[in-house]
């Protein structure tokens, strides 16, 4: 499908929706904002009192409700904010702007309340979604005081990772590359700073995050496990404000304020770690540091048109002993145009660019290496508020990818390295979707949708042809997988299609409200993923290369089924969510024994295609009101994969048997709490317990060439010891500074309070002095105290 066809379809949608206008009812639409800083509010509730008619504000604060002619009391509410009521006479379409005031505008409010949007909405069919306000994230104790979004979501049920200091996160047994991470809609390919110790999101620039673990709405596509939707703040459009902080690892500064007579606002935030941070740690002339910059501006042209521009730039730099340098980073930008066609039709057009690259400079061997992935994304989304029971979302997007897996260049004429450039790969990924939010009866509501996705891998490129079309063959004689025999090559000229895939992805969610306080929900979603991160190491590294589907790599396809029970207790003070899921992924890439991925132009000779499955039960009990807030999350789950030999012959990887995925943790428990003692002091604590991750240990040894060689057991058939720790924090807000409007706080934290040496990995080898076999434990963070100073004026 080309862009023109998309346009035609889009027009069709619009026509279709226009026909449905002719009713004797009217629409109230508008925007909901925070009165203090003008930030739009996402997830505020707007409803007509004593009716069943209502809506939630969208990501841009927009809402629209339609009701029959009459007089109503309109209520706008958002927890933590004062409710507003207004009598309206509905005899024509009208526009209303609301500015909500925080319940207690003082920073030192006594009663802490979780944000409305974090609580479950028992009526909405959307399940398997977790929302965290940046305020909540900032209260969670963290290592070295560095507020970390990726670490915070790991406290939620169903989210784990492969250990401290490993990049990314795993959702419901999925791999790191199966998460779609969006920062203001731009795809972020690597979420880690310093190889996973910290994350790329600067909390001072972020408004809120939403994690879809399942039931992914049809407007999202391209990854099979989850969507992490991170949204940056718009910037204060009331007055200039500066926030900042000084921590053990980094310092931060953000400035925001109105522009062009308050018709717009901007936010500019920067963060940098201290260079040579780990100098002492490694004892050599080494350094490692990161920095990032977030930018956002918006401009309101008139009450129908609003523009947003957001950008992110972040980098990591390493230098070792003067002979080795490395750097990697993400760059993204998004230009958005909100256009309100009518009081019921809200649209957003986005032009998005993002890039991830890494570079190495190896003086010892006189070469450097450069690799990147680039993408351009055009997205047009429509929300049509059809009537009081139905809302339609539809739209289209198209992404152009440019994969540049690497170039090696000698850096001197004496270098022994020959220049090498791996093949550049290009592809188009497009999607077309529609979804309907439908209140079927008072008790039953549904969200059903369909996504059509299509992926075309394009030339120009030369691909190797293999005998019998098999890039990997089983060597029967010695019983190992090895590269297939090259029999020729096929050249695809620029723009020629190498391979095209398309998929229909139905999504369905149902909610049945049992009574005022509880509901049952169920969901099914089918998702596809066309690009894959190649990684055969225990944890993902910045050097891992993204590769598109094509002649030899098929798209991953996933089906997920979920069932849940949701309940509010004690006047919504407590909420309980219980969900179970079952998920399958077809065409999961697996790596043959001894696979070699770096600098390899024919990756297909190192991989076989298998399948993965995961199932589990998740429980989340949350206390949202009172001096004490927090949650208990528990997950019991299993994630496995298997890779039969298929056409390549042989039994397959691990003899074709199911084996534990690297991030399969049977039990995962976290307890997170925050206690507001008084105006000055707030305390926070975490407890985390996880089954150790699956690993492969030796099951025998022998001598070969004078060395003691370990023989290893089947893949991931052992486990590390359990991981657990407690963290605590205390936040102190001194009062009565002489400077007006100056607010500050000190955050004291202790990570891993009882100094447990949690194993990040255990490796086995021969002691070079004694020749005896040893097991070496790598533990990353012991007890780590920290102090951070934050300010705001």
């Amino acid at each position: 499908m080309n862009i023109q066809q998309y346009r035609q379809l889009t027009l069709l949608f619009m026509l279709f929706t226009t026909f449905l206008f002719a009713q004797d009812s009217f629409t109230i639409s508008g925007t909901i904002k925070d009165i203090n800083n003008g930030e739009t509010i996402f997830g505020a509730s707007v409803f007509l009192k004593d009716t069943n008619i209502g809506a939630m504000s969208n990501e841009y604060g927009f809402f629209s409700i339609t009701a029959p002619k009459g007089t109503y009391i309109l209520t706008v509410s958002y927890l933590g904010y004062a409710e507003q009521q207004q009598e309206i006479t509905l005899d024509k379409n009208q526009k209303l702007q609301f500015e909500l005031k925080e319940s207690s505008t003082e920073l030192e409010e006594v009663i802490v309340t979780a944000e409305e949007s974090e609580r479950i909405n028992i009526k909405s069919p959307q399940m398997s979604v977790s929302k965290l306000k940046i305020k909540t994230i900032k209260n969670i104790p963290v290592v070295l005081g560095e507020v970390d979004i990726i670490k915070s979501i790991q406290l939620l049920p169903g989210v784990t990772n492969t250990g401290e200091g490993s990049s990314g996160f795993n959702v419901r047994g999925g791999a790191v590359d199966q998460n779609l991470v969006l920062l203001d809609e731009a795809i972020i390919y690597n979420t880690s700073h310093l190889l996973g110790f910290f994350s790329v999101f600067n909390a001072d620039a972020i408004k809120d995050i939403k994690l879809y673990k399942g039931g992914i709405p049809s407007r999202f596509g391209g990854r099979v496990s989850s969507v992490l939707d991170v949204r940056q703040k718009d910037g204060n459009n009331k007055h200039m404000a500066i926030t900042g902080g000084i921590g053990v690892i980094s310092s931060r500064l953000a400035i925001e304020g109105p522009i062009v007579k308050k018709k717009g606002s901007f936010l500019l935030a920067g963060r940098g770690s201290y260079a040579h941070l780990f100098l002492k740690l490694s004892g050599e002339d080494n350094s490692a540091y990161f920095y990032d910059v977030n930018l956002k501006t918006n401009y309101t042209l008139d009450n129908k048109n609003k523009f947003y521009l957001s950008g992110y730039f972040g980098r990591d730099d390493f230098s070792f002993g003067g002979n080795f340098k490395s750097g990697y980073g993400n760059l993204s930008g998004n230009l958005r145009w909100n256009h309100i066609f009518s009081s019921r039709l809200f649209t957003n057009l986005s032009l998005i660019y993002s890039k991830y690259d890494y570079a190495l400079d190896f003086k010892t061997f006189e070469f450097d290496w450069l690799s990147y992935i680039n993408n351009y994304n055009v997205k047009y989304d429509f929300s049509y508020y059809l009537n009081d029971t139905m809302k339609l979302d539809f739209g289209a997007n198209i992404i152009y990818y440019d994969f540049y897996p690497g170039k090696i260049e000698p850096t001197s004429s004496t270098s022994a390295i020959n220049p090498l450039e791996l093949d550049e790969k290009t592809a188009f990924e497009s999607g077309l979707y529609i979804s309907v939010e439908h209140k079927i009866t008072k008790q039953l509501s549904a969200n059903y949708g369909l996504r059509y996705s299509r992926f075309s891998r394009l030339g120009q490129q030369t691909l190797v042809d293999y005998r019998d079309n098999l890039p990997v063959v089983y060597n029967e004689t010695i019983g190992i997988y090895e590269s297939g025999e090259e029999v020729g090559a096929t050249y695809y000229k620029s723009g020629a299609s190498i391979e095209t895939f398309d998929n229909f992805e139905p999504r369905l969610a149902l909610a049945y409200q049992v009574n005022d306080n509880s509901s049952l929900k169920t969901g099914y979603s089918r998702t596809s993923q066309y690009i894959h991160l190649l990684s055969n190491t225990t944890s993902v590294t910045p050097l891992d290369v993204w590769t598109p589907s094509g002649k030899y790599i098929k798209p991953q396809l996933s089906n997920q089924y979920a069932l849940g029970y949701f309940r509010n207790f004690k006047d919504k003070t407590y909420t309980l969510e219980i969900e179970s899921y079952y998920k399958t992924v077809a065409n999961r890439i697996d790596y043959i024994d001894g696979s070699d991925l770096i600098g390899n132009n024919t990756i297909e000779t190192e991989i076989l295609t298998g399948e993965a499955r995961a199932y589990g039960l998740e429980l989340l009990l949350r206390k949202a009101k009172g001096r004490f807030t927090g949650w208990l999350a528990y997950t019991i789950s299993k994630a496995e994969q298997r890779t039969p030999g298929g056409a390549s012959g042989g039994l397959g990887i691990n003899n074709g048997e199911w084996y534990n995925s690297a991030h399969n943790r049977t039990h995962d428990l976290s307890l997170t709490g925050s206690y507001k003692f008084n105006d000055k002091w707030t305390f926070g604590a975490n407890f985390i317990y996880q089954t150790g991750r699956p690993v492969t240990y030796p099951d025998g040894q022998y001598e070969y060439e004078g060395l003691t060689i370990a023989n290893y057991s089947p893949r991931n058939s052992d486990r590390l010891t359990a991981y657990h720790r407690i963290d605590i924090s205390a936040t102190w807000k001194p009062k009565g500074t002489s400077v007006k409007k100056w607010n500050s706080e000190w955050v004291f934290g202790i990570y891993n309070l009882y100094n447990r040496r949690n194993a990040a990995s255990i490796s086995f080898g021969q002691n070079r002095e004694t020749g005896i076999n040893e097991a070496t434990r790598t533990a990353i963070f012991g007890i780590v105290p920290s102090v951070t100073y934050n300010f705001k004026f």
């Binding site: 190495l360 225990t538 070079r768 434990r777």
Partner: protein, 281 residues
């Protein structure tokens, strides 16, 4: 290229290096398996008639590696081109020897080991190796530009794919160190392989100082053996590296055609070899 990659990844893991310790771990025990160490090396300028093959058995990982020699087996190598057979006689200490071996570069040889009613087979071609052109020392090469290293130089032939194995051992050290390399990224160029040691108190390792001597062995190897030894060394050297690849079962080329699951560990390899030693000035 592996050496570069391995070093890139292990350097990236530097953050974790300072927080390791030795722990007790319970591991599984696999059934015992025969190990065939059949490395037939022909040093340039010698007859190459004296050859040894060692047979042993695996032992549980944390047990002592003693009393695991295999005696009473029959060991035979055949030059598949000429049909000449070489019987290796049992020395009753796990080694099997011959003094009549005839090495021919480029010829294919087969190995047959019979032990306790099982027959193990392997085939391999005799690989040649070029000469070392120069051995020198420096500090600016290597990973640390303040530490002495020895450099071995040789010219890679341009018209073929070549695979090499180096064995370095400082006189007085318990264990050798191996470096395997292919000409994948360096075909036809002069290649330099360095051997450097850094101070490491935990294993009593000291950097090179003038007066230290290093024994060097340089072997030509086949592509298949290169893949095997690369994986073996990767796994051997991955200690403490969180970015190492998932360890896997190491299969060599010694098969058991009658009973394929009961294959033997180890490898049957035939290499031309250059030996040298170097004393730091």
């Amino acid at each position: 290229m592996r050496i570069y990659k391995r070093n890139i990844l292990s350097i990236l893991s530097f953050l974790a290096i300072s927080c390791t310790d030795i722990v007790d771990v319970e591991v599984q025990s696999a059934p015992l398996r025969l190990v065939i160490e059949a490395s037939l090396n022909w040093e340039k300028g010698t007859l190459g008639n004296e050859q040894v093959i060692s047979l042993s058995q695996t032992v549980p990982y944390f047990d002592e590696l003693i009393n695991n020699e295999v005696v009473g087996a029959s060991v035979k190598v055949t030059n598949m081109t000429t049909g000449t057979e070489f019987e290796f006689s049992d020395q009753n200490d796990g080694t099997y020897k011959t003094s009549s071996f005839i090495p021919v570069l480029g010829n294919s040889y087969s190995l047959e080991v019979q032990h306790e009613g099982e027959t193990y087979m392997a085939e391999e071609t005799f690989s040649s190796v070029v000469d070392i052109t120069e051995i020198n020392q420096s500090t600016e090469q290597g990973f640390n530009d303040e530490v002495l290293e020895v450099n071995v130089l040789f010219d890679d032939p341009i018209d073929e794919d070549n695979y090499y194995l180096f064995r370095f051992k400082e006189q007085g050290d318990l264990l050798p160190e191996f470096v395997e390399i292919s000409d994948e990224f360096t075909n036809g160029n002069q290649m330099t392989i360095f051997y450097e040691k850094e101070d490491d108190d935990s294993i009593n390792q000291e950097e090179f100082v003038p007066g230290d001597s290093v024994d060097i062995k340089f072997y030509g190897i086949s592509e298949q053996y290169y893949n095997y030894i690369q994986l073996l060394l990767n796994q051997y050297e991955s200690v403490g590296n969180p970015f190492s690849t998932v360890p896997v079962v190491l299969k060599g080329n010694c098969t058991n055609p009658e009973n394929p699951d009961n294959y033997a560990f180890g490898y049957f390899r035939l290499s031309e070899m250059v030996t040298a030693s170097y004393s730091f000035q």
